[in-house]
Amino acid sequence: MKRILMLGTAIGLVGAPAMAEVNLLSWGGAYGNSHLEAYAKPFMAETGTEVVMSDADNPATPIKAQVEAGNVSIDVASVEYADAVRLCDEGLVEPIDPAILKAADDGTEAMDDFIEGAVTECFVGTDVYSMVLAFNDDAFSDAKPATPADFFDLEGFPGKRTMRKGAKFNLELALMADGVPAADVYATLDSDEGVDRAFAKLDSIKDEVIWWEAGAQPPQLLADGEVSMAYAFNGRIFNAAQADGQPFEIIWDGQIYEMEGWVIPAGAPNMEDAMEFVAWTTAPAPQARAAEFISYGPPRRSAAAMVGNIEGTDQPMGPHLPTTDANMTNALGSDLEFWVDHDAELNERFNAWLAG
């Protein structure tokens, strides 16, 4: 909390508006780096507009603080889909006219080129990431786990598990492991029996789970041999496997994907430049370029084929993206309406369940 307030203050102090400048708030780390390399730098080179980047734990929090305080210094921010919807409903971010978005290279209208739901009233998607199951190849010498059910099979695949400390993703995974088809997961969760069923399934491995809080923890726990399987963001697992040569394998069956993208805080100081930045960076080419830095898929159909090799190597990035066809066979799109509605309730229940 203190960090966020300090950060908010720091951003407030730094953000003196100047001519032709875009203040971009991102997440830092490898993800922030993809924004810097694929969006900010080329945008500066082409338009001459300076992009000033800063980082936050979750950029949605400073946006709420700044807009409510009436002292906005952020022009564009990268936020999660659910936060974007919430901020939009509360009038904290500006509507973005879809007409400014660039058409695909073959002339397809932007709105037809983006995957479903990637452009909303106030939000333009930049990438698709997903929660995936992953395991340490060294932990299983014979049969390898391949499905969500295997994650809950402590006898067949012994070893501790690590999962995110929170209700989101875990309840969906538990239901899929319990035999609910991906398409019915949210309908099932909408009833009390469905939630009970998910918790009952989680109960079966509760004693063997280490709960992670920071995205960097699961690859660490896998690498240390502390856990044999992890439920984590695909980008983190990919980076550990790719950059650090860890023997991690991703199970795409049962992946839950979500989007991140740009929002423009209400009353942003450089509104026009911000709109230009959003339009420029969500064109197919920059999106495909960003996917070469981190294994998050572009939300534009025409960009998928343009993704080249993993930056700095000669291996194609395609097979590592959540949006690749082969990885989408049993995939679940995270239902943000459901989570914005039930976030607090289910998290309270989840924490009570944890403490019990």
């Binding site: 307030l5 409903d89 509760k206 280490i210 403490a355």
Partner: protein
């Protein structure tokens, strides 16, 4: 008046006002006024000296915290955007079945709020009390923008039958005034039922009271542990020759100066099942490879890591007090026939109390608000209330709830401070 009597200058002033012609300055002015003037000048100067600091504290500390705490009982997300239905709630007693006037007011407010793009704020506010209602407001908002015809009751029920839910109306009634105690109720696992009576929330959602107790119990335990571990070290530091005690002091301060995250992560490396300590135990043959101890990602891990991190806050005040204790007192007690235990218990220990009080207070208050360490090493059983405050700040964005939990925590700490003052006396504190 009691204070004035204690002030020596005021005492003179009182006498002077009784007999004004006797006490005057050389130029004939009444002494009381001259004195007041010269004193007020000095006071003003002193105030100007501290004014920058005061302003700094007010602007950066008191005002933001005050604003934050205000959210715990003041949330006008519903009442400001839904004025007509709020007025209807104000006029009717709790439990009134909504009549035509209510439905008309609701429909008008929903339309206006949807046009003003504030329907999300309204829905979010109701969602705090009744999960799942946010989407009811936003989806209805989208529909009423396309138009709504009377009779409004049937029109709204047609859009979504949840509008007839008495719980929804009860939640709206609760939110219809900006000032509300509902967040405090929720912070102690209570809620209001349809008739407005305060009841406990469903059993599987009761979490905050448990976590409050756990936070205070763990903080108390950690304080006791730092005392048990820190007292002998502080004594050693205070009694060893300078050269040796300086070396020892560096060993105490070095971890104190190291980043909190580094120390927490080091504990993870040491304590985890594939970690250093378990490896050594297995290597020595004390435990088998299959029986590695679970020392982290649970309450044990939280206690170990927090005790270590907070230890210097106990050692340093104890040390500073022990340095000043004259060793001849204990020697005198021994020469008068006291056993070493009696001399310690009756002579030495009571003199360390100011340091102990300060150390215990520092450790306890820091432990109550601890966040990062339990989040990283706490697992499921080592969660503290601060983790829930963080969740409401950053995940659910329900800042009113976060503020209510924080206010309760602050209140509890202040109550303990008051208790401490009554039992031990704050004057007895010695921080260094």
């Amino acid at each position: 008046m009691a204070n004035a009597a204690l002030d020596p200058h005021a005492a003179i002033a009182t006498t002077a006002s009784g007999a004004p012609d006797r006490l005057t300055t050389a130029d004939g002015r009444p002494l009381v006024r001259a004195l007041a003037r010269s004193q007020s000048k000095a006071r003003r100067r002193a105030f100007l000296l501290v004014a920058p600091l005061l302003a700094f504290i007010l602007i950066t500390f008191v005002v933001p915290i005050g604003q934050m705490l205000q959210r715990s009982f003041h949330n006008d997300g519903f009442s400001a955007n839904m004025p007509q239905i709020s007025a209807w709630f104000a006029e009717t007693p709790a439990g009134t079945v909504p009549d035509d006037a209510a439905w008309t007011a609701l429909a008008a407010d929903l339309t206006a709020s949807a046009e003003a793009r504030s329907i999300g704020v309204v829905g979010t506010r109701i969602n705090y009390d009744l999960a799942g209602s946010r989407s009811l407001f936003t989806s209805t908002g989208r529909k009423v923008r396309r138009g709504i015809e009377p009779p409004y009751r049937d029109a709204l029920l047609e859009m979504d039958e949840d509008w007839g839910d008495p719980q929804l109306w009860s939640a709206m009634r609760g939110a219809s005034s900006a000032v509300t105690g509902n967040f405090y109720l929720a912070a102690v696992d209570r809620t209001r039922d349809e008739a407005g009576k305060i009841v406990q929330v469903e059993e599987n959602r009761r979490i905050y009271v448990t976590l409050f107790w756990r936070t205070f119990w763990l903080s108390g335990l950690i304080t006791a542990l730092t005392f048990v571990l820190g007292f002998p070290i502080a004594h050693l530091l205070a009694t060893l020759p300078m050269r040796k005690s300086n070396l020892l002091m560096i060993l105490v301060l070095l971890p104190f100066w190291t980043s909190l995250l580094v120390r927490t992560t080091s504990w993870m490396v040491l304590l985890q099942q594939q970690g250093v300590i378990n490896d050594i135990l297995v290597w020595l043959g004390i435990i088998g490879d299959g029986q590695r101890l679970q020392m982290i990602y649970n309450q044990t891990g939280t206690i170990i890591a927090m005790t270590h991190i907070l230890l210097p806050f106990m050692i340093l005040p104890l040390y500073s007090v022990m340095r000043t204790i004259n060793p001849s007192y204990v020697r005198a007690a021994r020469s008068l026939g006291a056993t070493s235990w009696t001399a310690f218990r009756r002579i030495y220990f009571p003199q360390t109390l100011p340091g102990l009080g300060a150390g215990a207070m520092l450790v306890f208050i820091l432990a109550v608000g601890y966040y990062i360490t339990p989040a990283l090493v706490g697992g499921s059983s080592g969660q503290l209330i601060s983790n829930m405050i963080a969740m409401h700040m950053t995940d659910t964005l329900n800042w009113s709830m976060a503020a209510a939990l924080a206010a309760l925590l602050l209140g509890a700490v202040l109550a303990l401070y008051w208790l401490y003052d009554r039992l031990v006396g704050v004057d007895n504190l010695k921080l260094g």
